[in-house]
Subunit: 167 residues, 2 copies
C-alpha cells in the first residue's frame, strides 16, 4: 500500500510536480494508513460477528442516542457519521426494517426529515455497546503507552482542524 | 462518532463487562477515528476527481508496479492491498476492462492466477501518481511537525505488530 510509484517511474514527473515522499515519510505514511485500515476493519468484523450490526450502523444508533429526544435531522446525522446523504438514507431504511429507527417530519419547520431512535433501537445499542469498547481497548489502548495515546490525540486533533475546520 | 453509548446507558453493562473508555480516552479515540476517516476520504475524492481512479484501484496498480515483472498472485495482491479476494477480483475485472491489468495462469505451478500490470496500466499510474502524493503532502505532512510525524510512525508500527504480526 503506497501513494507513489516505484522510484524508476519518478523520471516521468515534471520538475514542478509534487514534493515526493522520502523513504522515512513513506514508511510513516504506510504505517499510519495500514494500521488505520486494519483497525477499522477489525472493529467492524468483531462488532458484526458478535452482534450482527456493522460499525457504520452502530455509529448511527450511537449518534441518535446522544441527542436530546434521541432524534436528529437526517442532514445533521449524516454529518456526525461522516456519511453521504444517500448512504445514510439507505442505512436508516435498513434500521427502520429492524424497528430500531423511525423517520418523522421535522415539527419545527415542517420541512426536512428526522431520524428517531426507538426504544428497541436503544435496547439493541445497549446490548451491542460492550463489543466495540472491548475491541478498541484490546486493539488500540492496550497496545499503546500513555505518551502514544497523547500523541495520537494531538495528531488527530491537529488533522481535524485542517480537514474539518469549525464553520 | 463514538464507540460507546451515553453514560446513562452504562447501567446496563454487567460488572464483568468491558473497561469503558474514560473521557480522555474517548476524545483521543474519536480524534483518531474521525481524522483517519476524513483523510482517507479526502485522498480518495481528490484522486478520483483528478484522475478517475479510486484510491483502492490506484493501490492495486502501485502494488503491481513494485514487483519484478509487474505481476503478483491474486492472493498476494489481495494481502498487499488489504482487500478481500472477492473485492479484489471485482476490481481487477474493472481494471482489465480499461486495459490496465490482465490475468494470466501462474506458470510456476499451473495453478492460481496472476494479475499483470500492462504497459498502458503503468502509463496510467505514472500520470496519476503526482495527485495522491500532493494530497498526502498537503493534508498530512504539511499539517504535522517532525515530532508528530515520528509519533505517527511509531504508533502505526506498534499497531501493525499487533494487528498484522509477521507470520
Amino acid at each position: 500500500m503506497s501513494t507513489q510509484v516505484s522510484p524508476s517511474s519518478q523520471r516521468a514527473v515534471p520538475a514542478d510536480g509534487p514534493r515526493w515522499l522520502d523513504a522515512e515519510e513513506q514508511k510513516a505514511w504506510r504505517a499510519w494508513l495500514f494500521s488505520s485500515m486494519l483497525l477499522q476493519d477489525r472493529l467492524d468484523r468483531e462488532l458484526t460477528h458478535e452482534t450482527g450490526i456493522s460499525h457504520a450502523y452502530y455509529e448511527i444508533l450511537v449518534a441518535l442516542s446522544e441527542t436530546p429526544g434521541r432524534r436528529l435531522r437526517m442532514s445533521e446525522l449524516a454529518d456526525r457519521c461522516l456519511s453521504s446523504r444517500s448512504r445514510l438514507s439507505h442505512a436508516v431504511s435498513r434500521l427502520e426494517e429492524r424497528g430500531w429507527v423511525r423517520r418523522e417530519v421535522c415539527s419545527e419547520d415542517g420541512r426536512g426529515q428526522l431520524a428517531v431512535l426507538t426504544d428497541d433501537g436503544f435496547s439493541a445499542l445497549e446490548v451491542a455497546a460492550p463489543v466495540p469498547v472491548a475491541s478498541v481497548r484490546a486493539h488500540l489502548f492496550d497496545q499503546l503507552n500513555p505518551e502514544q495515546v497523547a500523541a495520537m490525540r494531538y495528531m488527530g486533533e491537529t488533522l481535524l482542524r485542517h480537514l474539518d475546520p469549525p464553520s
